[in-house]
Each structure stands twice: as structure tokens, then as C-alpha cells.
């Protein structure tokens, strides 16, 4: 995109600049992309939400940035992944280990299985500090205790030497967050951190993340399939479908003017307290598996506005004329006179 300088350096306001990220998996003797040519920039202090149905490549995008895609099955290619003046797409494994857990951290979806069952939570939170900061066991423990307090583990001091099985799911996710934040990362990748939790616990964890973000000023990529959460947390939203970004905009803009038919459909499927959940809209059809991607628009066969041209040619992510920071991958909505939009605007 034009706003980016060509010298390979991320502009100073960007915490992370991902360009042309493609992650493929080897299935049945062939490579199939699960993430295709994804580009976005994360501003400093910003929360970018990555939204989409299951299987559309959200986790793999985050894992690719972290360099955690399993090497035996997956292959990551990118023009550049710029972080603090380094290109992570070309960084050595040793360099990536320095960045992981220090500059960029990740919280995973499964709090019940993401902590090591045979190590105390105190040890697990201290570990990154001892490794990245070279702190002594004692200093690391003191700092870890401070962070466990910060993520509001009740009586953290007396629970420091407890094991994961002695904590509830919500508490384990707090421990995970504490672990991720131990070294005060510039960027937190939160991959559906609340999906596995009860609704009330979800709300608490989201509140905690919001608070921690305010205190630390880190930037965050928040992955979810729940647009309702996005409205509360994100500054900007990237909607993903079948490994591609299909729409990206400021959160208010996206909710006011959802433009891609997929985004529209997602918005209609948010559960709302003022509506009966029985009537909840579900998008017909499924995300195509990576081994059977159709040509042209990947959403076409589920789309109510589909024309022949949609299935024939690849769509580009293009800015809207009225809102240049709002880009959409749908030629009908960006090139055509937009009849639906006109009605909405009027």
C-alpha cells in the first residue's frame, strides 16, 4: 500500500508492520495456503482485532508472526514482518527466541492445557524474566509476584508455588497473561483468550486486558470470532475470511458501515440482549477448507450479492472512496456504484 515508505523500515508509529504474509501447510503431498498475502500495520498502543469464523487463519497469522508455525508441516513466507527495525520474516531462530516472550508475547485460547502441569505457576511466570532479563531466581520471583498481583490472582504470594491444576480456568488464563506480560512486551498477541471460559469470567478477563493495556501502553492484536467483544476492546478491526483480510477499518467506521458482505453477515450474527437468541442469524455454508479454495472471491458461494465475475477473478483489498482508511476486498462494493450503501447512507 502506498502509505508505506519503501526503505524497509517501519514508520516509527508502527509497532508491527506485516507485509504479504503467506503461510502454507503441506497436505497430501501439496502446499496449501492457510494465510494468503496478509498485510496490515499495527500502530503503537493500538488494539487491532482479527475477526473471522473458525478456520479462517487467525491463529496461523499470529503464529506466523511469532515464528511458531510447526516446521514439519508449515511454511511461512512474507515480504516483511517489521518489528523494531528488524525483519522477523528473515530472522534466525535464535533471534526469534530473543523476540518471543520479550518484545512480542502470546496468550493462547486453551488455558486448561497451555500451562505446564508439573511446574509451579511461580516458576512458569519467572522463567521468561530469568531467561530474557537474566534476573536471579530471587529477583525474578519478586517481579513475577508483582505481575501475578497485577493480573489479580487473589493472595498471589501464598499461591506462588501452587500448580496449574489447583487453579480454575479463569485463574489459569490470568496466569497465562501474567506470563506473557512478564517482560513488558511491546506487542501482545491474544488468541481468543476468553473463548474457553464462562461468560462472566470472559468479561473479567476482557476488563483485565483492557486495564493492563492502558497501564502498559502495549499494542495488542486481539483474535476473536465474536464481533461483540471487538466493539468493547478494539481500535481497529481486520475481518479475515479463508486466509485473507476482506475488510479493515476503524472500529466505529466498521460498525457504522460494514461493507463486505461477510462483515455484514458477521454483524448480523452477534448475539444481542435485546433480541431473542433463537432468532440469531447464522451464515449459511462453511469456510472452504484450505485444500479446496475456490478461485476468485472465497466468500462468493455463500454471498447473497454474488455475480459471475466474483467467482471468476481474484478480488483486491481496496480503500473506499469516502473513507480511505477503510479497505474492502469486494469489487461490487468498491468499484460499482454502491446501491446498498447509498440506501444506508441516505
Amino acid at each position: 500500500m502506498a502509505r508505506r515508505p519503501a526503505n524497509g523500515q517501519a514508520p516509527a508509529q508502527f509497532a508491527l508492520d506485516v507485509r504479504g504474509l503467506t503461510t502454507s501447510f503441506y497436505v497430501g503431498g501439496k502446499w496449501f495456503p492457510a494465510v494468503r498475502d496478509v498485510s496490515f500495520a499495527l500502530k503503537r498502543h493500538e488494539t487491532l482485532a482479527l475477526v473471522g469464523e473458525s478456520g479462517c487463519g487467525k491463529s496461523m497469522t499470529a503464529m506466523s508472526i511469532m515464528g511458531l508455525v510447526p516446521k514439519d508441516a508449515g511454511r511461512v513466507k512474507a515480504e516483511a514482518i517489521l518489528f523494531e527495525g528488524q525483519d522477523l520474516a528473515r530472522a534466525s531462530e535464535a533471534k526469534m527466541r530473543e523476540v518471543r516472550g520479550d518484545g512480542i508475547s502470546m496468550v493462547f485460547q486453551e488455558p486448561m492445557t497451555s500451562l505446564n502441569p508439573v511446574l509451579t505457576i511461580g516458576f512458569q511466570v519467572s522463567e521468561a524474566l530469568r531467561h530474557h532479563r537474566g534476573l536471579s531466581r530471587r529477583d525474578a520471583a519478586a517481579r513475577a509476584l508483582h505481575i501475578l498481583d497485577q493480573v489479580k490472582i487473589p493472595s498471589a504470594k501464598s499461591r506462588f508455588n501452587d500448580y496449574p491444576h489447583q487453579f480454575s480456568g479463569g485463574m489459569r488464563q490470568r496466569v497465562m497473561i501474567a506470563m506473557a506480560l512478564a517482560c513488558q512486551p511491546k506487542i501482545l498477541l491474544a488468541d481468543e483468550p476468553t473463548t474457553a471460559l464462562d461468560v462472566t469470567i470472559q468479561a473479567q478477563i476482557l476488563e483485565l486486558l483492557r486495564e493492563l493495556k492502558r497501564e502498559t501502553g502495549m499494542a495488542m492484536i486481539f483474535i476473536t470470532h465474536n464481533l461483540g467483544v471487538v466493539a468493547e476492546l478494539a481500535d481497529r478491526v481486520a475481518v479475515m475470511y479463508a486466509g485473507q483480510i476482506v475488510e479493515i477499518a476503524e472500529v466505529a467506521e466498521l460498525f457504522a458501515r460494514p461493507t463486505h458482505p461477510y462483515t455484514e453477515a458477521l454483524l448480523r450474527s452477534i448475539p444481542r440482549s435485546d433480541r431473542d437468541t433463537a432468532e440469531l442469524y447464522t451464515i449459511p455454508g462453511q469456510v472452504p477448507p484450505i485444500t479446496r479454495m475456490p478461485p476468485g472471491c472465497k466468500f462468493a458461494d455463500r454471498c447473497a450479492y454474488r455475480l459471475d465475475r466474483c467467482q471468476a477473478e481474484e478480488q483486491q483489498l481496496a480503500p473506499l472512496a469516502k473513507a480511505p482508511a477503510h479497505a474492502v476486498r469486494c469489487w461490487r462494493r468498491t468499484e460499482e456504484t454502491q446501491p446498498e450503501m447509498v440506501v444506508v447512507d441516505a
Binding site: 520479550d102 493462547f108 497451555s114 508439573v118 509451579t120 497465562m176 506470563m179
Partner: protein
């Protein structure tokens, strides 16, 4: 923890009692007259009667049972029908040899098997993995007496490093170790093969776990991920399998004992079996049960060391 051990040992009492009862009944329903066995085919009728009297075989069964239990508890396990020596004494004489051999082969097995298993898992489907897998399969399927003879040929006869007959003297630690080396290597190789295979498969499982991904996400160096995060979890199934195998090993070391002409429980069992030494067999079965109980207890205590989710209750 101490209370747990005490409770477990207390729980072992009914088990031992059951085994002793079983042994008592078994010996009495096996065909063949013990008096006849002791005195031989040529014995006169009077001599047989006298011997039955002496062994108490004419008395009511329950009286024999009570006597049997009382004697057993007081340490009088009777005399061997073949040698006439006290049974408990005979067993206690060979027990140290068996314990030495078992512990030594376990140490060898763990020392080599665990790193080999980890190494193999880390190089899954590469050359070293194939070599390790084929090697461990060989180790498991190779007859123990053949490897024993090979070891003897090479290290005792050709190189003269170790005694050919590893019997004997337990007077000094050096002596014990010298006699122990080859038999322990022989059984240790099997143990190594066993532990290598279990460690490899268990390690492969663990490496796919979410918490391993978390450890990588923290940026830990590979060795910390493997030796701190993965191995300890991977050892849990290894302990199970080793615990089971130890019990088998103690009774099955007979071929090794024979080739190296070394005393031990295995040889005692086979000897008693072939000579129909019933009283000796009784004693051996009880001792064997006791050993299994101890091995199980040690296995469970080891779980507790590795896995904090294990509770002693």
C-alpha cells in the same frame, strides 16, 4: 507421606495373607505326595508314613493352615525339601544378589534409555531415530542368554576384564561391582531398549502438547523446553512401564544368572520348580509378592516426585 507409606504397607498385609493362603492351598492340591518326593520311589511304606507324620500331612487341613501361618509369621518358613536348609535363610542369602542386579540394570537402563529416547524423539523419522528404534527392537528381541554368552566371550574370556563366574564373595564393594558388571550390563541392555522406546513415544506425545508451544512462545532455549518442560511430563508413562517391567525382571533374570553362574531369586525359583521343592516354592511366592508390593509402592512414590497432581491419600 510417611503416613501414606505406613498405610500402603498396612494394606499389603491382606494381600500377603491372601497369597499365603493361595500358596498353602495350591501346594496341597498339586498332584504328587511331598513325602514321596522327599524320600524317593524306593521308600518303604513305614518311612512314608513317618515322613507324613513329621510334615504334619495327616492332620486336619485347618490345623495345618494355622500352623503354617504361625510359623511363617515367626520367621520359620520350614526347610527345603531338597537341601534341608531353612528356606528363609536360603532366600535371604540370594536376595542381595537379585537386588543388586535389578537396581544396577535399572540404573543402566535409565542412564542410557532416557537420553536415547529423547534424542530419538527429537530426530523423529531421521536416521538416528531409525537406528535407535531398530537397535532397541533388537535389544528387546535378542535372547538374554545369547547376549550374556557374547558378553562373557568378549569381556571375560577374550579381554579378561571380568571374572567368568560372577558368583561369590560380597566382602568388598569392588568385588561386588566386578561380579555385577557383566550380568548388569546384560539386563541393563534390555532395560535400556525398553526405556528408550517408552521415552521416545511418550516424548513425542508431550512435544505436541499446548504447554510446549507456550514454552516456545516464551522464547526459552530449546534445551530448556526439552529438559525442563517436556521430559518431566514424558517420564510419567516411563515410570509406569518400568515399574511393571521391574517385577517381571526380578523373576526372569534366571538365564542371566545361569550363564554368569550367579546366585539369585530366578535361579532359586527354577531350581525349586524342577525339583518339586514345595516348601521352597511357598517361600519364594510369598517373597515375590512382597517384592512386587514394594516395587509398586516405590513406583507410586516416584509418580509423586514427578507429577504434582498425584496425591498421597
Amino acid at each position: 507421606m510417611l503416613a501414606y507409606v505406613a498405610r500402603r504397607l498396612l494394606l499389603a498385609v491382606p494381600t500377603l495373607l491372601a497369597v499365603m493362603t493361595l500358596v498353602f492351598v495350591l501346594v496341597r492340591i498339586v498332584p504328587g505326595d511331598p513325602a514321596q518326593t522327599i524320600l524317593g520311589d524306593q521308600a518303604s511304606q513305614e518311612a512314608l508314613m513317618a515322613m507324613r507324620e513329621r510334615l504334619g500331612l495327616n492332620r486336619p487341613l485347618w490345623e495345618q493352615y494355622i500352623d503354617f501361618l504361625r510359623d511363617a509369621l515367626s520367621g520359620d518358613w520350614g526347610n527345603s525339601m531338597v537341601t534341608g536348609h531353612p528356606i528363609l535363610q536360603e532366600i535371604l542369602n540370594v536376595l542381595p544378589y537379585t537386588i543388586d542386579l535389578t537396581v544396577a540394570s535399572l540404573i543402566i537402563g535409565a542412564l542410557f534409555g532416557i537420553p536415547l529416547g529423547v534424542w530419538s524423539a527429537l530426530h523423529r523419522n531421521r536416521l538416528v531415530d531409525y537406528v535407535t528404534r531398530v537397535g532397541s527392537l533388537l535389544g528387546l528381541s535378542f535372547p538374554a542368554f545369547v547376549s550374556a554368552i557374547l558378553l562373557l566371550l568378549v569381556f571375560s574370556i577374550e579381554l579378561n576384564w571380568f571374572p567368568v563366574i560372577s558368583a561369590g564373595d560380597r566382602s568388598s564393594v569392588g568385588e561386588v561391582l566386578e561380579n555385577l558388571a557383566l550380568p548388569a550390563i546384560n539386563l541393563g541392555l534390555i532395560m535400556t531398549a525398553y526405556i528408550t522406546r517408552v521415552t521416545r513415544s511418550s516424548m513425542l506425545n508431550v512435544l505436541g502438547e499446548d504447554y510446549i508451544r507456550t514454552a516456545h512462545a516464551k522464547g526459552l532455549p530449546n534445551r530448556a523446553v526439552i529438559w525442563i518442560h517436556a521430559l518431566r511430563n514424558a517420564l510419567i508413562p516411563v515410570v509406569t512401564v518400568v515399574g511393571l517391567y521391574l517385577g517381571i525382571l526380578i523373576g526372569n533374570s534366571v538365564l542371566t544368572e545361569i550363564v554368569f553362574n550367579r546366585p539369585g531369586l530366578g535361579k532359586l525359583i527354577v531350581g525349586a520348580l524342577s525339583q518339586r521343592d514345595y516348601t521352597m516354592l511357598q517361600g519364594l511366592m510369598v517373597i515375590y509378592t512382597f517384592i512386587i508390593i514394594i516395587v509398586n509402592l516405590l513406583t507410586d512414590l516416584t509418580y509423586g516426585l514427578i507429577d504434582p497432581r498425584v496425591k498421597y491419600s
